[in-house]
Amino acid sequence: MKLLVVSLLAVAALSAAQAPQTFTGIITDNMCAKGSHAQMRMGPTDADCVTACVRAHDATYVLSDGKEVYTLSDQRTPEKFAAQKVNVTGTLDAKTKTIKVDSITAAK
């Protein structure tokens, strides 16, 4: 009986850990996650700068919440949200800080 309860708890804990969560932050690129795009002159807007970093310099789109930088499994959808505040819903791999993206929507 004890073993069954422990097993159920373990399964519940694992399921909770892998459940989709919503993360709020700015879509930026992994090379400049800590930098101000306004200074970089890669384009007229921050969004142009982020996109240029990805296209020209092989950077990847990431989500930055100011403290953490999350890699995004979906590298297409973030382009239209470059430099914008968004809500990313998905499953987090805590070890690699990678979000397996289900959806990205503009945050209010």
């Binding site: 800590k34 306004a38 200074q39 240029a52 310099h57 092989d58 930055s64 100011g66 690699t96």
Partner: protein, 181 residues
């Protein structure tokens, strides 16, 4: 007697664990270095007060450090550059403790305007390797050219031509960007 043996074993276990962590940190730091410069590179570990400890003494002018998982960094992150940039990197780290991007940029601008922003060594290279893990990490290579402008170098100050160009031209942060890197 049993107690002494347990204490000795405990100390040994802690020491072995610390040595393993140091070796791992050295390997991670050196991953950012060009292959032919790894053996001679110095590896350091930054302390919270912006001083550093040397984990591996080198013979060339490159130093490397592991910054994996630090605030604003990806789970795997390492950087190497010239020993001439140690003070600049320490100053970078001071500014990076400010988490708010706008506030941090304002502090950097103020330091730039007051002349207190330290210059990196002209022509020195920054090798930055980062990613979700070491296997998928990407290398970003820039060449520091503090104060350089289009007029002084002949390079454009924006990427429109598609070739190498100077980012942050005219500042201590000016650096040459190479497409694909």
């Amino acid at each position: 007697m049993t107690r002494i043996v347990l204490v000795v074993l405990g100390v040994l276990a802690v020491s072995v664990s610390a040595l393993a962590q140091t070796a791992e940190s050295i390997d991670r730091a050196l991953a950012a270095a060009p292959r032919n410069m790894r053996e001679g590179a110095t590896v350091i570990k930054w302390n919270p007060d912006y001083t550093y400890e040397t984990l591996k003494k080198g013979t060339n002018r490159l130093f490397c450090f592991d910054r994996s998982g630090e605030p604003g960094e990806q789970p795997f992150a390492a950087q190497c550059t010239s020993v001439g940039n140690l003070e600049r990197v320490a100053q970078n780290r001071r500014f990076e403790t400010e988490q708010d991007t706008k506030k941090r940029q304002a502090m950097l601008d103020a330091a730039e305007a007051s002349g207190t922003r330290l210059k990196p060594e002209y022509g020195s290279v920054f090798y930055s390797l980062s990613g979700p893990d070491q296997a998928t990490a990407r290398l970003h290579v820039t060449i520091a050219v503090p104060g350089a402008t289009s007029q002084s170098t002949g390079l454009p100050d924006n990427p429109k031509q598609g070739g190498s160009w100077i980012m942050n031209a005219g500042t201590t942060t000016a650096h040459i960007m190479t497409p694909g890197q």
